[in-house]
């Protein structure tokens, strides 16, 4: 019963997202794509925070590396091939996560949070203070990458509608991949590690290697999100990997409900929507946003993911 209701909800949501670009509102189509990209980003962080038990406060580093890699891999005066820059960004971010993971996974708890933040700040200053990516001004992606495979052109990212659908596909594939990963032997092992790492070691699991793999996968997916972000806006600045961005994605996961993929997607959408609405009202929109987040943590501890269950309990009595 519950399964069917959530399936229907998912189906309706996906249908709405696919149909939406037909409204021909360039602004809202771009906003929708942005929300979906941040949803991919939030999903990747939830794999760490919600399922592996690793609270990373430097996840923007991999998002930013994916974004910069996309621009830096593209030729200046020609469109790049999507099939080069997208995998390139994923590999670059994954590699960075692998290397940084080797260091940060030696720490635990509050130290892990601080060390992930420190590494992210280091990456931030590399792009902020050197000429690699245009310094603090950032760098432009002059052409949208081309999806052409030889003579065959499956879709065109210059078309806002098709671009939005491409992002939709990326989100759905990421979500499917992560859901599938959680049911795999590897997924069971990382959930076991979050639940009780000591026991996992006693059972013979090399837990650090599993955590490193999860950290790398999460970094790679964040890189995918960063790449799509760079393609969508055609512009990359160091702000993409600042600690604000790491904090924002953590808030999306908390708002949506830690340890729920649907929650992370919902959290990202809610975050983007609030940002949009509140900044239309006042320059001090972050104050309002902060208030909402405090309220959410206080009154809805399980995040948006806990909302259906709560509503059911609240209204269940009427139906008997």
């Amino acid at each position: 019963m519950k399964f069917r209701a959530s399936s229907v909800a998912l189906f309706v949501a996906v249908a709405a997202v696919i149909v939406f670009p037909f409204t021909d509102s360039a602004f809202y189509t771009e906003l929708l794509a942005k929300a979906m990209i941040l949803a991919i980003f939030a999903l990747s962080l939830d794999l760490l925070v919600g399922y592996t038990g690793l609270v990373s406060f430097g996840h923007a580093a991999y998002f930013g590396i994916g974004a910069y890699a996309t621009v830096l891999l593209a030729p200046k005066y020609d469109p790049a091939s999507l099939w080069v820059v997208l995998p390139g960004a994923v590999v670059a971010a994954g590699l960075a996560a692998l290397i940084i993971g080797l260091f940060v996974l030696r720490t635990r708890g509050i130290y892990f949070i601080m060390v992930t933040l420190a590494f992210a700040q280091m990456v931030y200053y590399v792009f902020h203070d050197t000429a690699i990516g245009g310094g603090s001004d950032g760098i432009y992606l002059n052409f949208k990458p081309s999806a052409a495979l030889g003579a065959f052109r499956p879709f065109d990212l210059e078309q806002a509608r098709q671009q939005c659908w491409f992002v939709t596909a990326a989100l759905l594939i990421t979500w499917w991949f992560l859901a599938r990963l959680l049911r795999s032997p590897f997924g069971r092992a990382i959930v076991g590690i979050r639940s009780n790492e000591q026991r996992m070691r006693a059972l013979g699991f090399a837990t650090v290697r599993y955590k490193l793999a999860a950290f790398t996968i999460a970094g790679a997916i964040a890189g995918l999100a960063g790449s799509l972000y760079a393609i969508l806006f055609g512009f990359v600045t160091p702000e993409l990997l600042s600690w604000h961005q790491s904090g924002n994605v953590l808030l999306m996961v908390i708002l949506g409900g830690i340890g729920s993929f649907a929650g992370s997607v919902g959290g990202a959408f809610a975050f983007v929507a609030m940002q949009e609405v509140f900044s239309g009202w006042t320059r001090h929109w972050q104050l309002l946003m902060g208030g909402v987040i405090v309220a959410a943590v206080l009154f809805l501890p399980g995040g948006l993911a806990a909302l259906p269950g709560r509503l059911k309990r609240a209204f269940g009595a009427d139906r008997g």
């Binding site: 990963l181 795999s184 590897f186 069971r188 076991g192 639940s195 009780n196 996992m200 006693a202 059972l203």
Partner: protein, 249 residues
């Protein structure tokens, strides 16, 4: 003597200046239950932690089937065949009893790193998990979430998980702690059942249980081995009586 699987030679562990274990030697043979007795703070749990690799030794050696495993971290010792349970119940509370055991069995699966196949698709691991549950007497409780099992059942699950890994050496830290008499009796039956195929180290406070099941008893006091021998010798020992048992047994 018998088929010695695990031997400790002169294990010493210092915490600052304090010796939690000093020069502890003991051996565990297949087909024997070796009980480790001692008052609180005698170093019994530390001893298990040194054998399992949860704690590194300050000096001394741990030999598994004659091979030095002292340098191996705990997960590698587990893979080599040393299984342990914990004094305080240490299970995956949100998983079902079955999933606790299936995951334990998965630790032995060389294909455990696959990320896109279904964890429950590997029949051999499911069978192994089920068999361990059955053996520990939890066959009927497989689909119950571990957190909602009774305390006694959780203690059984602790053992079932170790069995699912196929460990030859079982280091059991107070498996009877907090159990009712009926549950204790069942656990003792289980230990007797496991004895022929395993080398068992049993840390336990329940004297009746220890003397019912143990083939060999080592008594520790203040981190040292006070006396080691067959149960009859320990019962008769004046030193043990004075140091620990307090009154004639």
């Amino acid at each position: 003597m018998a088929d010695v699987l695990l031997a400790a030679e002169g294990l010493t562990r210092l915490f600052g200046g304090l010796a939690a274990n000093r020069d502890v030697s003991l051996s565990l043979a297949r087909g024997e239950v070796h009980a480790l007795l001692g008052p609180n703070g005698a170093g019994k749990s530390t001893c298990i932690n040194l054998l399992s690799g949860d704690l590194p030794v300050t000096s001394g050696r741990v030999l598994l089937r004659g091979k030095d495993v002292t340098a191996l971290p705990n997960h590698k010792r587990s893979l080599a065949g040393i299984g342990r349970s914990y004094q305080r119940t240490n299970i995956f509370a949100k998983f079902t009893a079955f999933e606790n055991c299936r995951l334990a069995a998965q630790s032995r699966d060389p294909r455990a790193w696959r990320i896109l196949s279904d964890a429950h698709g590997t029949v051999a691991l499911r069978d192994r998990g089920r068999a361990a549950l059955e053996q520990a007497g939890l066959g009927a409780r497989a689909d119950i979430v571990a957190a909602t099992l009774s305390h006694g059942e959780q203690r059984q699950l602790e053992i079932a998980m170790v069995l699912a890994t196929g460990a030859a050496v079982l280091l059991l830290d107070e498996p009877l702690a907090g159990m009712g008499s009926e549950e204790s009796a069942r656990m003792i039956e289980l230990l007797k059942q496991l004895r022929p195929a395993h080398a068992i180290l049993l840390v336990e406070h329940d004297m009746d249980a220890v003397f019912e099941v143990a083939d060999r008893v080592t008594v520790m006091v203040e981190g040292r081995v006070l006396e080691s021998g067959p149960p009859a010798q320990i019962r008769a020992s004046a030193a043990v009586r004075e140091a620990y048992l307090g009154e004639p047994v």
